[in-house]
Symmetry: C2
Subunit: 331 residues, 2 copies
């Protein structure tokens, strides 16, 4: 299988996981804008490409697909997901499976307010969200929402730019100054997340791996532990019915007052997918079966062990500047 | 060589470097307060210890030294450095080399204002520092310092709590509210750092490895490149004459208007020592020669290549909760 990881950046361990599962059955081709992306070191071939906003970007990616006889393509950064989805037909015409959601779903994942409206309409529990201060104010005066609240950029990634706002006056001021923000109910429950694989042949979610943070008094960051809960699996499966994903995704959830709430979906390999892989939930093998064998994977939701712990640490790639500058190919 | 790394935390790659150089000539013993410290996975033996402030802490570390026939001890966290220095005699009585500075030097490194006064007295160029708003105000009114300035905790690590302050009124208010802060001149030059090894037999600095950040437009964090400059080496060697270090340390510098300025010293393995190791500056071999062969190392300052690049990425340790809980020994 020839797979193309676009905007590969620092995702070294993800590439190592593909190699571990597939050995020489996979040829790993990657792109990045920078010769300093550490993950280049774990690829079989790397291409230097312009910014994803460049008009030549997609033509170059299509050229790489032809030249490298790519079977499947995915991206590791959020802003590129909709771009791949927009060009699905062109990739499919070259026989390339696009491991990214279909367009409508990709667009929803990108816009948190549209996502809220869509989920509410479909009856999927989610975090109460307002697109403007006026909308918030109406509910606030009717006692339907209280302070503090959370504000975050309508279209950003993860928690970048997210913050808690305590007072009415400050919220008003903040929203006037930054109309790109949305207002969300402050969730006080536990946050957790799930890595999912949506089979590209059957369209069904076939694997769900859920994990939560470990609270430790010291150095508590970036430590997670696997758990299983049928209620979570049912909630996630129901939520999946209203979308058209294709391949890996990462879903953020809250658990509050005995119920799950969908917070956000990142429709790509999540940054901590490594945990799922280490617990035996092997997305590379699912992709291989879908893409190379053209077969659906069997549903295996919850087939992993609870209490598997992942602890992150800093690793490094070291090489000479000359090697880095010569390594990447131009398209 | 039996080496004890106290408070080992996330320093997995450092332990791997020791193993790479020394193979089965080293037995790596580690301590931590938490069973979730990922570096435990790369040790030969790990002990669970209380917080470093616990009255039983040092007696327990001494017990481990006896039990494991430790030849050398070091710590990977700043607040523990002075504690090891305070108990040097007790460790030495057990035949343990303490890879930490002698007491006066350890205390200076911990207190940025005392360090400033000491360096100024000794004629080593450093960043202008004030311990109180009153001291700053006097110089400000005489035109000897201008705004903006930097404030940071007098005794903290690295850049934790450091921030730029633009206005006189705000600075006054900030310093009244937080008397633990110091005020520093805002340095506009390039910042860089050097990993040093001070030979424990000869007392001389025998290796200096200097690196600076790489500016990249995208994902520029945690990428450094090696460089060499005789002027830097001379500056660092001169500065070393006024201290009594013992083993590895990391020095932060500024280069401004053609001159180097000493900013801070962390007298332990720096978080990015991995870069020096990857470029062939092999502290584990220096330690082995000092501790096991009781010989001084030859001075080899600048014996590495320029333009060696280090790029960081996230790696993980994955294990079951049961294994983690059973792995650490109690003293």
């Amino acid at each position: 299988m020839n797979i193309l990881f676009c905007s590969v950046g620092r995702r070294c361990e993800l590439l190592k996981d593909f190699r571990k599962t597939l050995g020489d059955k996979v040829r790993i081709v990657v792109t990045d804008n920078s010769p300093y992306a550490p993950a280049l070191a774990f690829s079989d071939m790397s291409y230097k490409v312009p910014l994803i906003t460049d008009e030549n970007y997609i033509p170059m990616i299509l050229d790489i697909c032809k030249k490298e006889k790519i079977n499947a393509i995915t991206t590791l950064i959020d802003p590129e997901i909709s771009i791949l989805a927009d060009h699905r037909a062109e990739f499919e015409a070259l026989g390339v499976e696009v491991l990214a959601p279909y367009k409508e779903t990709a667009d929803l994942c990108f816009d948190k307010y549209e996502m809220f409206k869509y989920l509410s309409e479909k009856g999927v529990r989610t975090v109460k969200t307002y697109g403007t201060f006026e909308d918030f104010d109406k509910d606030y005066k009717e006692g339907k929402i209280s302070l503090p609240v959370f504000v975050k950029p309508r279209t950003g990634s993860g928690s970048v730019g997210a913050r808690r706002v305590e007072s009415y006056e400050l919220l008003k001021e903040v929203m006037e100054r930054s109309p790109e923000l949305i207002i969300q109910e402050l969730m006080t429950g536990k946050d957790m997340d799930a890595d999912l694989y949506v089979d590209t042949v059957s369209g069904e979610v076939i694997a769900i791996f859920s994990k939560k943070k470990i609270s430790t008094t010291i150095g508590g960051a970036n430590k997670t532990i696997s758990f299983k809960d049928e209620k979570l699996f049912e909630f996630v499966k129901d939520a999946m019915k209203v979308f058209k994903f294709n391949g890996p995704l990462d879903m953020d959830l809250f658990f509050q007052n005995g119920e799950y709430y969908l917070s956000e979906i990142n429709p790509r390999f999540g940054g901590a997918y490594l945990h799922a892989y280490g617990a035996g939930v092997d997305f590379p093998s699912f992709i291989y079966r879908n893409v190379m064998e053209k077969e659906a994977n069997k549903q295996q939701i919850g087939q992993y062990n609870e209490n598997v712990v992942m602890m992150m640490y800093d690793s490094v790639v070291i090489d000479t500047l000359d090697n880095l500058q010569e390594r990447m190919k131009e398209v």
